[in-house]
C-alpha cells in the first residue's frame, strides 16, 4: 500500500510536515468517500479526502466535480466510474481542490503516479493557471495565478505559465513516458525541474528550466485532470475548467518546498512500493581477550631401543651327493655274465640325512657248480671252464641327488633412537583466547519493496528517427 510506503519515505527523507496533500486511490473502490455540496443548489459531490500521512487531513479535500446529484449519490458515480481498479479515472471527472491559498505554489514539489487509460494523449495533470485581467486607467493589464503541468500529444511533460513576458511553455523533450509513470515537478527559487523517475533503471530523468518564481502567484484552487486556462481548446468541465485527461491516478502528493530529484525519487518509490519490515541477520565477530601461555621444552633423543630387524641364514657346510637303491626284482644270469652287487653306508651316516651306496661289478658264478672249473677248449673263454647254468640275482634301481648343506639362522637387531622432551626450555607458546561478540545485532529493518508489476512501466514501441525506405 502506497500510504505506508510514502510514510516511510517521508520519515526517512524529510520532516513529516512537508506533505501537504496526499491522495491515495488504492483500496477506495467501493467505499463511501464522503460528499459535499459546495456549489449550492443542493447538489452533492463525492469527496476524496486528504489522507495520512499528510500533515493535516482536515483540509485540501478533493471534490469529484464531474457529477453532482440532488441526493447523496456522489458515491454511485465515484465508485462505479471515477474510482475503478483502485485508480481515479480522470476521464470521467476532474478533481478540484479548493482553499489552497496557503499552498506555496512557487515553492513546492508535486508527484503523480499515473497511467494512461489508452494511448498517450495530451492532458493537464495539475492545473491552476488562471488568467486575470484588470483595467487601470483604460489600460488592460493581464496577470495570472498558478500554472499548469501536463503532457503533450508527443507524450512529454510540459509546464505552462504566464509571467511579465507573457505566456510560455516549457517541454521536457528528452523525457519519454511509459504507460504508467511516476512524474513530478519541483519549483523553487527560479528553478523548475520536470521529472520522471525510471524505477526499472534506477534513473532520474530531469529537465531544468528557469521560472521567475517571484511572479508565480498562489491560486485559491487547482484541478487534477483539468485547468481553468489551457492553451488548447476543449470541452469545459462542470466547474468551467477544461477537461483534458484520459489518465488514471494511482496517487498524488503535494509537498512544500523545492525538493531534490533524489529525494523525490525516494518518495516516489514509496508511492508505488510497499512498506516492508524484516529482521536483519545478526553478525558476530571474535575478539581476543588474552593469551594462554604454555612452556615449550626442547625435544631431543632420550634413549635407544633395539628391535628385531630380521634373520640372517648362514650355511655351515658343502653340498654332498646322496642316493639310494630300490629293489627291482631279479634277473637270470648265466655263469660269467657281469652284474652289480650294491652296498649301502652304515646307519650312522644315514642319520645325518645323507645316504649313499656303492656297487661292485662281478661275474656270476652259479652256487651249484661246485666251484671247479676245468678248461673245455682252447679258446679264451673256454679255458675258464664256466658251466652252462643259470641263476637269479637281485636287481636294484639307483637314485642319486644332492643333499643340502646344513644352515643356521641368526636373529638380527638394530638400534632406534627415541625422542622426547628434554629438560631444557626452548620458549613459551601463546594461544589467543577469544570471546564472541555481536558486531551488528539483529534489528528490525524496514524499507520499501518494489514488488508491483513492472509491465506498465515498460515501453513497447521503438520509433526509428532516420530516413525510411
Amino acid at each position: 500500500m502506497s500510504q505506508s510506503g510514502i510514510s516511510y519515505a517521508l520519515n526517512r527523507n524529510l520532516s513529516s510536515d512537508r506533505l501537504l496533500v496526499f491522495y491515495d486511490f488504492s483500496g477506495m473502490s467501493g467505499r463511501h468517500i464522503g460528499s459535499t455540496a459546495p456549489y449550492g443548489g443542493g447538489f452533492n459531490f463525492g469527496v476524496i479526502e486528504n489522507c495520512d500521512p499528510s500533515i493535516n487531513t482536515g483540509v485540501y479535500s478533493g471534490i469529484v466535480c464531474g457529477f453532482g446529484s440532488s441526493v447523496a449519490a456522489g458515491k454511485d458515480f465515484t465508485t462505479g466510474t471515477f474510482l475503478k481498479g483502485n485508480k481515479a479515472n480522470l476521464t470521467g471527472s476532474n478533481i478540484r481542490v479548493t482553499g489552497t491559498k496557503d499552498l506555496p505554489y512557487s515553492n513546492c514539489s508535486v508527484l503523480f503516479d499515473l497511467e494512461f487509460n489508452n494511448q498517450v494523449s495530451d492532458c493537464i495533470l495539475f492545473g491552476s493557471l488562471e488568467k486575470t485581467s484588470d483595467t487601470v486607467g483604460g489600460v488592460t493589464i493581464t496577470g495570472s495565478k498558478g500554472y499548469n503541468l501536463g503532457i503533450t500529444k508527443r507524450g512529454q511533460l510540459f509546464y505552462q505559465g504566464f509571467d511579465n513576458k507573457g505566456d510560455f511553455i516549457y517541454t521536457a523533450n528528452s523525457i519519454e513516458l511509459a504507460k504508467r509513470n511516476v512524474l513530478g515537478f519541483s519549483l523553487s527559487t527560479d528553478s523548475l525541474s520536470l521529472l520522471r523517475f525510471d524505477y526499472l533503471n534506477h534513473k532520474i530523468q530531469k529537465e531544468q528550466f528557469f521560472v521567475n518564481t517571484s511572479l508565480v502567484v498562489d491560486n485559491t484552487g487547482f484541478y487534477l485532470g483539468g485547468s481553468p486556462q489551457y492553451f488548447r481548446g476543449g470541452a469545459y468541465g462542470s466547474s468551467g475548467e477544461f477537461e483534458t485527461s484520459d489518465v488514471s491516478l494511482n496517487s498524488f502528493c503535494f509537498l512544500s518546498g523545492g525538493l531534490s530529484p533524489s529525494t523525490l525519487f525516494s518518495i516516489g518509490s514509496g508511492m508505488i512500493g510497499d512498506f516492508s519490515e524484516s529482521t536483519t541477520t545478526e553478525i558476530t565477530k571474535r575478539r581476543i581477550t588474552g593469551y594462554n601461555q604454555t612452556t615449550v621444552y626442547k625435544t631431543g633423543i632420550t634413549g635407544y631401543d633395539y628391535e628385531d630387524t630380521g634373520d640372517l641364514t648362514i650355511s655351515t657346510g658343502r653340498y654332498m651327493m646322496t642316493g639310494n637303491i630300490i629293489s627291482n626284482g631279479t634277473s637270470t644270469l648265466e655263469e660269467g655274465e657281469n652284474y652289480f652287487i650294491y652296498y649301502t653306508f652304515d646307519s650312522a651316516l644315514s642319520d645325518s640325512g645323507v645316504t649313499s651306496f656303492n656297487k661292485r661289478q662281478i661275474g656270476y658264478l652259479h652256487p651249484d657248480s661246485g666251484y671247479q672249473y676245468l678248461p673245455t677248449g682252447e679258446k679264451a673263454f673256454s679255458t675258464l671252464g664256466l658251466q652252462n647254468v643259470e641263476g637269479a640275482v637281485d636287481k636294484y634301481i639307483e637314485q642319486q641327488g644332492l643333499s643340502g648343506a646344513g644352515t643356521i639362522e641368526v636373529e638380527m637387531f638394530g638400534s632406534r633412537f627415541q625422542t622426547g622432551y628434554l629438560s631444557e626450555i626452548s620458549g613459551v607458546k601463546q594461544s589467543p583466547l577469544y570471546e564472541t561478540l555481536i558486531a551488528t545485532p539483529s534489528i528490525p529493518a524496514s524499507g520499501i519493496n518494489l514488488g508491483g508489476l513492472a509491465e506498465n512501466f515498460k515501453k513497447n514501441f521503438v520509433y526509428y528517427l532516420g530516413d525510411r525506405p
Binding site: 515498460k458 526509428y464 532516420g466
Partner: protein
C-alpha cells in the same frame, strides 16, 4: 533493409528488473559511450568486476562491431609488449598479472586498438558490457571451416545452448537467421555461414580468409525482433535504454531512435514545437524531429 532490435524485457515485477539474482541489474551495461579520441580512448571499467575489462566489451566503431582479444604479452627489460592476433583491440588486465606489470587504473580503462584499426578523431565509439564471453572464428586455426571454428569455440564453453542465445557478427556486421545463416540442416547446432555447401552462405573457401566471424552471448532476458519495417512494437514491453538497434547489421546510435509507449500520435519532421495558434513564429524549430504540440 533489415531492422533488428535486441530488447531487454526485464522481469515481471519492478524489483525483478534490477535484481542481481536474476541478472537484470545490468542497466549500466548498455549503449555506453567511449570517451577520448584517437589513441586515448577509455571505457568505464568501474561497472565490470574487479575493474577488469578483459573480454567484456562489445564495442562498436561507427556501428561496426569490433573484436576484443586477450593479447599475447611479452616481457622485456623495462618494457611490456602486447600483440594481437586476430582481434581489433584489447584492454590491459588489472589482476595479479596487471599488478606485476604496473598497470595503472587509467591503463586498465584504456581501449588499445590494433594499428590496423582505422580511427579518426570524430569516430563514434560505443560499447555494451557483456558477461557471457566472446567467440571468434577465422577459419585459420586448425584449418577448420570458419563456421565450424566458431561453433567449436562456443560449444567448448556452452555445450548445450541454442543458436538464438547469441548475437552473431561477420566482419562486424550483425547476422540474422535465414538462408546461409542459421542452423545447419535445421537441426544440428552448426553456425551455417561457413564454407560448406550446407551452409550456403557468402563465405566460400576462396574468400574465407577475408572474413572474421564473432559471437556474443546475449544478456539475460533479451531477445531479438527482426523485420523489414523500422518501427518495432512489442507486446512484451521492454526496459528503456537497454536495447540495441541494428539496421542491416550495423548498430544504430541511441540518438537514432526513440523508445516510447504506444500512442504518440503526432510525429512530424520539420514542424516547430509551438502551441497551436499561440505564440507567433518567434521560436525556431529545435530539430528536424521536433513535433507539434
Amino acid at each position: 533493409m533489415i531492422y533488428d532490435v535486441v530488447i531487454n524485457t526485464g522481469g515481471e515485477s519492478l524489483s525483478d528488473c534490477f535484481s542481481s539474482g536474476l541478472g537484470t541489474d545490468n542497466y549500466v551495461y548498455y549503449n555506453k559511450k567511449a570517451q577520448g579520441a584517437i589513441d586515448d580512448i577509455f571505457f568505464n571499467n568501474s561497472v565490470v568486476e574487479s575493474n577488469n575489462g578483459e573480454l567484456t566489451l562489445q564495442l562498436f566503431l561507427n556501428s561496426q562491431c569490433l573484436l576484443q582479444e586477450l593479447p599475447i604479452t611479452g616481457w622485456g627489460a623495462n618494457k611490456v609488449a602486447y600483440e594481437l592476433d586476430t582481434g581489433d583491440f584489447f584492454v590491459k588486465a588489472t589482476g595479479e598479472q596487471g599488478v606485476s606489470l604496473n598497470i595503472t587504473a587509467l591503463d586498465s580503462a584504456q581501449i588499445n586498438f590494433s594499428p590496423t584499426t582505422p580511427l579518426a578523431y570524430n569516430d563514434d565509439i560505443c560499447y555494451n558490457i557483456i558477461t557471457g564471453g566472446i567467440f571468434a572464428g577465422t577459419g585459420e586455426v586448425l584449418k577448420q571451416d570458419i563456421g565450424e571454428e566458431l561453433t567449436s569455440g562456443i560449444s567448448g564453453k556452452y555445450p548445450n545452448i541454442n543458436f538464438t542465445d547469441f548475437d552473431f557478427f561477420l566482419n562486424g556486421q550483425k547476422l540474422y537467421s535465414g538462408d546461409g545463416v542459421g542452423l545447419k540442416a535445421g537441426t544440428d547446432y552448426q553456425i551455417a555461414f561457413g564454407t560448406s555447401t550446407a551452409a550456403g552462405g557468402i563465405v566460400t573457401n576462396i574468400n574465407e580468409t577475408g572474413f572474421k566471424a564473432t559471437a556474443y552471448k546475449k544478456n539475460n532476458r533479451t531477445h531479438s525482433i527482426t523485420g523489414v519495417t523500422p518501427d518495432i512494437s512489442t507486446e512484451t514491453g521492454f526496459i528503456e535504454g537497454r536495447n540495441n538497434y541494428y539496421i542491416n547489421g550495423l548498430q544504430e546510435s541511441q540518438s537514432g531512435y526513440l523508445e516510447l509507449y504506444t500512442g504518440v500520435t503526432i510525429f512530424k519532421t520539420g514542424v516547430g514545437c509551438l502551441p497551436s495558434g499561440g505564440f507567433g513564429n518567434s521560436k525556431t524549430p529545435k530539430t528536424k524531429n521536433t513535433i507539434e504540440l
